[in-house]
Symmetry: C2
Amino acid sequence: MACHHDRVAHSSASAGALLHHVRTGRARSRAELVALTGAARNTVSARVDQLIAAGLLEEGGRGWSTGGRPPTLLRFNSAAGCVLAVDLGVTSVDVAVTDLSAQVLATIGHPIDIADGPGPVLAEVDRLAQEVLAEAGLTPADVCAVGVGVPGPVEFSTGRPSHPPIMPGWHDFPIPSAFGRYDGPVFVDNDVNVMALGEMGVAGSVQDVLVVKVGTGIGCGIIVDGDVYRGAQGSAGDIGHIHVPCADGREVVCRCGQVNCLEAIAGGGALLRDARAAGLPVATTREVVERAAQGDGVALELVRHAGRTIGTVLAALVNFFNPHRIVMTGGVARAGVPLLAGIRESVYARSMPLAARALEITVSDAPDLSGRVGAALMAIEGYLDDDSVSEALTRATLAR
Amino acid sequence: MACHHDRVAHSSASAGALLHHVRTGRARSRAELVALTGAARNTVSARVDQLIAAGLLEEGGRGWSTGGRPPTLLRFNSAAGCVLAVDLGVTSVDVAVTDLSAQVLATIGHPIDIADGPGPVLAEVDRLAQEVLAEAGLTPADVCAVGVGVPGPVEFSTGRPSHPPIMPGWHDFPIPSAFGRYDGPVFVDNDVNVMALGEMGVAGSVQDVLVVKVGTGIGCGIIVDGDVYRGAQGSAGDIGHIHVPCADGREVVCRCGQVNCLEAIAGGGALLRDARAAGLPVATTREVVERAAQGDGVALELVRHAGRTIGTVLAALVNFFNPHRIVMTGGVARAGVPLLAGIRESVYARSMPLAARALEITVSDAPDLSGRVGAALMAIEGYLDDDSVSEALTRATLAR
């Protein structure tokens, strides 16, 4: 009844499937691939030869023999290509080039204003990408795929933002078209799904995890058995507009037009608004978070209160989803302890004991990196999936 | 990135995988199995022969030839065995025997009191099972597997209830031990997960669905890409104790000890309590539901109000989970329209438009049947999964 996170269900002797088995350590030789897939030895050998010719697999050393000639070991060649990883924020963008195991080869960041629209912003991304490739001694021809995370909802199949509230001018813009100088596929998703992938990549886990970003808005990436869960319209994880009762009976209007949405009460903007109302001389949410980190009592209580409010929603989601782990990320999560304390207070008060018992709630270890690592992983998994690999091998064969 | 619901990922030329391909219509001949799996023709033929010998596959007719001898068609023989399906409720039990496509061959129901404990209740189930087998002209030796749904949390891997609140005396009881007269495996799960499987079986859908049971308690079965999602400790879907604010500021103590749990405000027990407080001469929740169905204004408003409260929780879950469909079931769902009206009111008022746009919210078409069909499907899928089939074939070979 378990849901496999493996994408190679139906034709496990395909080139992509064989590659997957070697990449994930399930098989280390032709013989092990034959045993694992039940496919004919000739079929496996021919496909492995294709993958070696394409540079994706390489032969190295000899394994232990169980009688007869010792097998030649196979390993994934993560240097066979590189991907571009773009982590697009509201006020800055990070562009990295990584190898096929998401190891960063070079990276560069730059301030932008997302409200300048797709034309100027993506021209800047293009410039940065060329710079970062040059720094790594690579050319556009080396880029196998591109992964882009953006701060708004995206139709995953087309890479077009869908009415993104904080990306004016970006609705329906085909982001992949801005990467025409690269041959490979371009994958675009919202930043929270991308970060969730990145957190999984950093932690190496394949379980049921929620990655909750508390920045200006609040969103959640859902990992089911190691994969991003997207839901019917791809909008799963959109928890920022869940209704929460305001403790003091206030009605707070959200930018979406509703009242008392989670992010209108506990997001970064709300934190700044409440800090100013409490008399703190702050201009940005970051300053509130920094004050809390320095031990300012008012800022601490405001962050903890935001945590409590976020915790009321997470308590319900813990009962419903029963995750192994919740990872907090985003600008407000940098506050750390006071935010976690507020969240834990609500979650442990209101979740069912069985679901809360072994639940870990943590702050991301690598909040700055997870967007880039996630974008790289999205590109790599997309590039190395079954169909793409078969297609690439076919192209390579035809080109000979 | 999609999560496959297919359980045959890593060894797709195994006997179980070949059987799965034929059962689901992906392949109808040895040649199609070879094409689909990439396995050697000899391997496929040998395993198909084993499956035919075991009675699970049969040969029928000739397909169209694409040149050469027309292929012999294969089909799944759903009459190769039967399963027992047990739908255990608080006050009654239904036992059915079905073929391997979950078609009911005979069924029988009987009143019980779950509080009598596992000894007397499972003795009664055993008696009913023998009666229903006799009615279908079958013997215990024909039973390949048993599926049991129970009204409480279960550790799926062992089939033991885990602190079930409305099953006194059942904690940690090994339910499978009561079915020792059958050779096959016994699968036990909570009634809501089982019903969710049953709803999927009836509707034939493999998408992201929530099945919400509103009986005495309130619970939710979660289907992700066609499979039951259980979460870290197997407690996913436990939505009855999500905290909801009571509209009039009341604090209602739940049987779990917390205040204002969803089921303490909108479950069947709450409905009865509120109906009596409103002066209705009713002794059971069923009577309240019947009065609503007959147009009693007070009962109608109570049911609709329960729907609104349930809808506030579902609105949050729609944002988070973005399901294709929500199916309502259980005793209170028999009220139909007024319950749905209340739920829809809250969901459409508070869910994000993108997630709510194409969402279907319906009442189960077959609330009486889904528990038995789900229990049968759980048993069938468990019995025909990869390892079980291989094991059964090995046993059959050794017995020769």
